[in-house]
Each structure stands twice: as structure tokens, then as C-alpha cells.
Symmetry: C2
Subunit: 121 residues, 2 copies
């Protein structure tokens, strides 16, 4: 049996007293990232880098809720959490499952560190 | 560190000469199953058991393409591959990533056996 093509990493940690799980899986066309404090897959969002580029702009991303509640905060949170993954993974889009009890900036910052520890790209 | 809440299993095998990967991950509200012969996450389909029940009918499922090409065969294939997972997992919906080069009945049958070997529910 060959090595698995699909790499996956997982980490669990208490963040601000809440058990938090991160699962990152690498596909050739997507990075799949689940951030959950409920054990649920949560709201499923695609975070896609826009192909338009021009010299003076910073990269922009489109977010789309595929499953679950479509709320403005979800898009903000998704971009904040997934943009760096996409950029580090050669501009691959990110499929993000988000089920957070606590979306405070401090929590999001700590969760980003957890994602960095699950680097599969 | 506690045991991870999220269980995941993965298997790779040649099916009809094509390298095939199966990844199954259990969430509390979904079973996530990827079946890929490209390393891609492929078409993303939700397969949800209908809540209506009556005594004389067999269970029915709704399929919805969340990402990728929405083709009739995709819905048929998704139901065929995911219904038994949902039923075995206490009627949880299945989130299915499907990227098959070969959707012949014989291949689908062998892939179903691979999924059974990745039981996380």
C-alpha cells in the first residue's frame, strides 16, 4: 500500500476554557479545515481567492456559505481564519467548517495558532 | 490532552487499476466521507434522510450539490454510496466529496466496501 495521498492532521486544546478541535485535510484542489467547539461540522463556508490581481491591491477573497446560517459575522470570521491558509497553500481555496461558541478576537487568534500546528499544505 | 472527539479513518486501495482514497470523519451532526480517485475533494454533496416517514415506504433521501457540477448521475451515485452510511450512523446526514474517474457499478461496489472499512460512526 502506498502512502496516503491525502494528508490530515488534528489537534485538540482548551481555548478560553472551551474544548476546541481543529482538523485540517489537504486535497489537491482544496484545503479542508474544521474548527469546532461543538463536535459539529458547523457552518460550511468556501473561502476562495479572487483570481483578479492588480499591483496595488492586497489579495481579496470570496466567501460563500454552503451549509448552515448565512450571517455577516460568519463571512468576516471565515476570512480572518482561512485567508492565511489559502495563501500559504499556494492560493488554494479553503473549505471551512466553523462551529464556535466563542468568536472573540482572542479566541480566534488562539485558534489560528492551532491551525498553524495542523499544517498539511 | 483528552482523546480527540472527532474520529477519522482513511484507506487507500487500487480499484479496477485506479488508486482510490476514502476518508471518513465523524462529526456529531454529519458524517463526512470523501471518495477520490484524483486527490481532489471533488463534487460536494449533502445526502440527508427525509424526516417524513410512513409505514409502507422505504426511507428516502434528499441530495444537494453544494460545490461542483450538478449532474443527475451525481445524485444517483451519491445516494448509492452514502445512504447506508447515514442509516448505520443513526440517520445522520452525510457530507460526501466525490471525485471518481470510474463510476461503474463494480467500482462503486468495491468503494462501498472500502467505506465499510473506514467506519467511524
Amino acid at each position: 500500500m502506498a502512502d496516503p495521498i491525502i494528508k490530515s492532521k488534528q489537534v485538540q486544546k482548551e481555548v478560553n476554557g472551551i474544548s476546541t478541535e481543529v482538523v485540517c485535510t489537504e486535497f489537491s484542489n482544496y484545503i479542508f479545515v474544521v474548527l469546532t467547539q461543538y463536535g459539529k461540522i458547523g457552518t460550511l463556508i468556501s473561502v476562495t481567492p479572487d483570481s483578479r490581481t492588480n499591483d496595488i491591491s492586497t489579495p481579496t477573497f470570496s466567501t460563500k456559505v454552503l451549509l448552515g446560517k448565512d450571517e455577516p459575522l460568519t463571512h468576516v470570521c471565515a476570512k480572518n481564519l482561512a485567508m492565511f491558509v489559502s495563501q500559504e497553500a499556494g492560493n488554494r481555496p479553503v473549505l471551512l467548517g466553523l462551529a464556535l461558541k466563542d468568536s472573540s478576537l482572542e479566541t480566534v487568534k488562539q485558534i489560528k495558532e492551532m491551525v498553524k500546528g495542523c499544517q498539511v499544505w
